[in-house]
């Protein structure tokens, strides 16, 4: 019954979306306010409708309606309530519906804003949002339907279908398979919604960009209108990525935070292009340049968002054959192709309207440095994109090439792995370039900077940053990449602090304000700029952690008897005891107690463990971690002797400075919140200021 309700609302929402898209299109073409209003109402209606649909699944999950296939797949009797609710995004069908639900929430919120002088954008924004929504709803209704039930035929077969096939009865399993244990971590519970929020929020600036192209309002108005949406989208995407990193570190048990896995990369790619976009729109706002480029970037971001969902949902990553077996892959592929081609052809028709208004003043002007930033972000994207699609491409080409004898030697037809070594061998260069740019671009000015003026602004922070070599050399650092890396980090940090200091000091002198007050008001006055600097500071702190783990991580593994020891660098761990027990929620836990010694002194105890989930027959390794700003000691229980528990195998990682990655992420998120914090629209502010007091009264 509830499943039928959920499915019916899904179908109604789909029809409403189609109607809304048509009404918006006709309304815009015929200049009919009533049609556009009707489209707007349709848009607004999708949110409550999808809320009913999403609540239906949650109801089925909470109440253990295992006759519904999705409920059986992702939940079980002994799962706690919060996990049953979050199982909404624990599987493919549920997460696609969840995507649509968030999309309708964001799109509805954007249609609720005051449109006064931007009314011509409205129908086109609605059209783009509703087409995107309708596509995802179509997937939910026809291919990945979360409301499909099990049916029992008289011959004893169990089939799944939405509606009862003739002669069958409802089949109700006693229990479900339970949520994948890897997804039961708090980080993984919040991570997908954050990522999805980031994904869907990027649809909004794209919708405005398309509206601007269609209506030929190609000035910076669409950028100003969507500035906050873009930052919010970026904030959520960043949060999603950081939480994913933390989850990997805590749960995946390989001592790292980023594995260059295609799924990780698929979320990272829209972030990279989105970041390039965030920077380059500033050039359009300030200088009227890069208009065409900004359009390219936002189109790419939108399609990368869809591509990210496609990669993780189509099965194409595991094999080209798996991709061909389900209709979901080709449909995604088609939608991406169609939107990409349609957007680009629209852009090409408006290409001349988007010609640059300004000219590039100097190679060292801020706009030139922003352009360089864009090149680096774009380069990173190309590298990662290539790494992600190459295995798919080589497999697909192999299938074709193997049929042609002359090409059989070239097209090996073998699936290949493009692993971390490949990525790490390339990406360090653009990352280093970006780091250096963070230390130069804030010191430049629009249009007029030259090498000389930048040099003049650079020398003070540069001299201070050189001091970092003293502690580094004294502590015995001799590796050139490490010395250079830490110096660059120190230099960028000095530049950011110097920028804050300079502005706060000037304000303090000019307005006779307390330095702290001046600092606070200065940030409030230009949140985007100073929010941006805080983000840069967060990035720099994260770079400390990344450099630490990438250059200095060490590891060892060994089997030791109870009371035995194993050493790594300054650390020694002693195996005290191991207990194996079952928990109420269907886990078998093997938990070791190990004592940690640093330079021979006892510093604490860790409890690495291995959980085995009976339902899904999956093991999960939870590391025992001692984390300090100096280093992390990360201990994994790899194996143990099942009967006597008298000996166990441990893997130990020493991860220097990784703490700074997490601390930097917090700073980074704070910076994003500062930049995204709502303030009055500048134009409105100016109008209200220019109105004489008498007329206000």
């Amino acid at each position: 019954m509830v499943a039928n309700l959920g499915y019916a609302t899904l179908v109604i929402t789909f029809l409403v979306s189609i109607y809304g898209a048509i009404a918006a299109f006709l309304g815009a073409r015929r200049n009919s306010t009533s049609l556009v209003d009707s489209a707007r109402n349709a848009m607004l209606l999708t949110f409550p409708l999808l809320t009913i649909s999403a609540l239906s699944i949650i109801y089925l999950l909470i109440n253990g309606h295992y006759e519904v296939q999705y409920v059986t797949e992702v939940s079980s009797n002994n799962m706690p309530l919060y996990l049953k609710i979050t199982a909404l995004w624990g599987g493919q069908a549920g997460s696609l519906l969840f995507w649509s639900w968030l999309m309708s929430a964001f799109a509805s919120a954007v249609t609720l804003r005051k449109w006064d002088r931007d009314r011509e954008f409205l129908p086109w924004v609605i059209l783009v949002c509703l087409i995107t929504l309708a596509f995802f709803l179509m997937l939910s209704i026809f291919i990945e339907n979360p409301f499909v039930s099990f049916w029992h035929s008289p011959t004893g077969n169990v089939a799944s279908a939405m509606f009862r096939p003739a002669g069958t009865t409802l089949f109700i399993p006693q229990d479900g398979n339970g949520l994948n244990p890897l997804l039961r971590h708090p980080g993984m519970i919040i991570h997908p919604p954050m990522l999805y929020l980031g994904f869907v929020a990027f649809v909004i600036p794209y919708a405005f960009a398309m509206a601007a192209l269609i209506t030929r309002r190609t000035d910076a108005r669409w950028i100003r209108l969507t500035r906050r949406w873009t930052i919010v989208a970026w904030l959520f995407l960043s949060l999603g990525l950081v939480l994913g990193m933390r989850w990997a570190y805590d749960v995946l048990g390989w001592g790292g935070y980023w594995g260059w896995d295609p799924v990780e990369n698929s979320a990272f790619m829209p972030w990279l292009i989105g970041t390039a976009f965030l920077h380059s729109v500033i050039v359009q706002e300030k200088r009227g340049m890069l208009k065409q480029w900004n359009m390219v970037l936002i189109i790419l971001t939108y399609d990368l968002v869809i591509f990210g969902t496609f990669l993780t949902r189509s099965g194409v990553l595991s094999s080209v054959h798996a991709f061909a077996q389900s209709a979901i892959g080709p449909l995604f592929f088609g939608f991406i192709g169609l939107t990409f081609v349609a957007s680009l052809s629209l852009l090409s028709r408006r290409w001349n309207d988007l010609r640059s208004e300004g000219v590039m003043g100097s190679w060292f002007s801020r706009e030139a440095l922003f352009l360089l930033n864009n090149l680096l972000f774009f380069g990173l994207f190309i590298v990662i994109f290539w790494g992600v699609i190459f295995p798919i491409l080589s497999e697909a080409l192999g299938i074709v090439g193997q049929g042609i004898p002359a090409l059989a030697g070239i097209f090996t037809g073998q699936k290949v792995t493009v692993g971390p070594q490949w990525y790490e061998g390339i990406v360090w260069l653009p990352f280093a370039g970006l780091l250096l740019l963070m230390g130069i671009a804030p010191l430049s000015t629009w249009q007029y900077s030259t090498a000389k003026t930048i040099g003049k602004a650079m020398w003070k922070p540069l001299v201070v940053s050189l001091l970092v070599f003293i502690p580094l050399l004294l502590r015995g650092f001799r590796s050139i990449p490490a010395l250079l890396g830490f110096w660059m980090i120190a230099y960028v940090a000095c530049v950011i602090i110097y920028e804050f200091w300079r502005a706060a000091w000037a304000r303090h002198n000019a307005r006779d304000e307390n330095l702290l007050v001046a600092f606070w008001l200065m940030i409030g006055k230009n949140r985007r700029r100073y929010g941006g600097y805080i983000i840069h500071l967060g990035m720099v702190l994260m770079a400390v952690g990344i450099l630490g783990i990438e250059l200095f991580q060490t590891e060892t593994q060994g089997t030791i008897p109870q009371g035995g020891q194993i050493s790594l660098g300054q650390y020694t761990i002693k195996f005290d005891s191991l207990s194996v027990f079952d928990t109420e929620e269907g886990r078998n836990v093997a938990r070791a107690v190990v004592s940690i010694y640093k330079d021979g002194n006892y510093i604490g105890e860790l409890h690495p463990r291995r959980d085995y989930y009976y339902e899904s027959q999956q093991p999960m390794t939870i590391a025992g971690v001692r984390s300090t700003p100096e280093d992390d000691l990360y201990v994994l229980l790899v194996d143990w002797q099942p009967l006597s528990t008298s000996a166990a195998t441990f893997k130990i990682y020493h991860n220097p400075l990784i703490w700074w990655l997490w601390f930097g992420s917090i700073v980074f998120i704070i910076g994003s919140v500062v930049a995204a914090w709502p303030s009055k629209e500048p134009e409105l502010l100016m109008v209200s200021k220019s109105i004489p007091e008498t007329s206000k009264a």
């Binding site: 390989w254 290539w386 080589s394 699936k415 493009v418 590891e555 593994q557 060994g558 291995r610």
Partner: protein, 166 residues
């Protein structure tokens, strides 16, 4: 998927039952976990997507690591062991594609793309540095500029200046 895993595990167990007694009789020092992981780190199991062999927690991967240990104990070199796995399970077990045939593209495309990017940027920059010739202005825009009221014009430029400052 699960069936493949079970099959793989079964095959590996069979292999071990054949190899193990020989290894014991060889009486060589057992290679350490670190030595095994040094090689396992560079390999991927074909069942568990994108997880290096040294950290994969599944039973099948644990047995693969044992296989590496056996091979090391038998005196095989790192390269021989890697070649053995490639022969058995294909190129995908390697962390990076072997540089042959079409795989060359994976190494060539990124640097070429970046160089092309730099070139395009350089060209774009050069063209932007040149002032736009006046005949490139659209006629209607030029008309508007000419016919506009000087007071209005001043107001607009002040307004634009204000907006730009923000």
């Amino acid at each position: 998927m699960r069936n493949t895993k079970i099959l793989l595990a079964f095959i590996l167990i069979l292999i071990f039952t054949v190899i193990a007694p020989r290894a014991v009789s060889a009486q060589q020092p057992t290679p350490s976990d670190d030595q095994v992981n040094e090689i396992a780190k560079q390999l991927y199991c074909p069942v568990c997507e994108n997880i290096p062999l040294d950290v994969c927690p599944t039973t099948a991967c644990a047995q693969w690591r044992e296989l590496i240990r056996q091979k090391l104990a038998d005196g095989w070199t790192e390269q021989q062991i890697k070649d053995y796995f490639v022969l058995q399970y294909g190129d995908r077990v390697l962390g990076t594609p072997p540089a042959q045939g079409i795989n060359w593209l994976v190494y060539l495309v990124p640097p070429v793309a970046i160089l092309v990017g730099i070139y395009i940027l350089f060209r774009a920059f050069r063209s932007w540095k040149r002032p736009i010739p006046s005949d490139n202005l659209q006629p209607d825009n030029a008309e508007i500029l000419k016919s506009s009221d000087p007071n209005q014009d001043e107001y607009i430029s002040r307004l634009e200046e204000e907006v730009r400052k923000r």
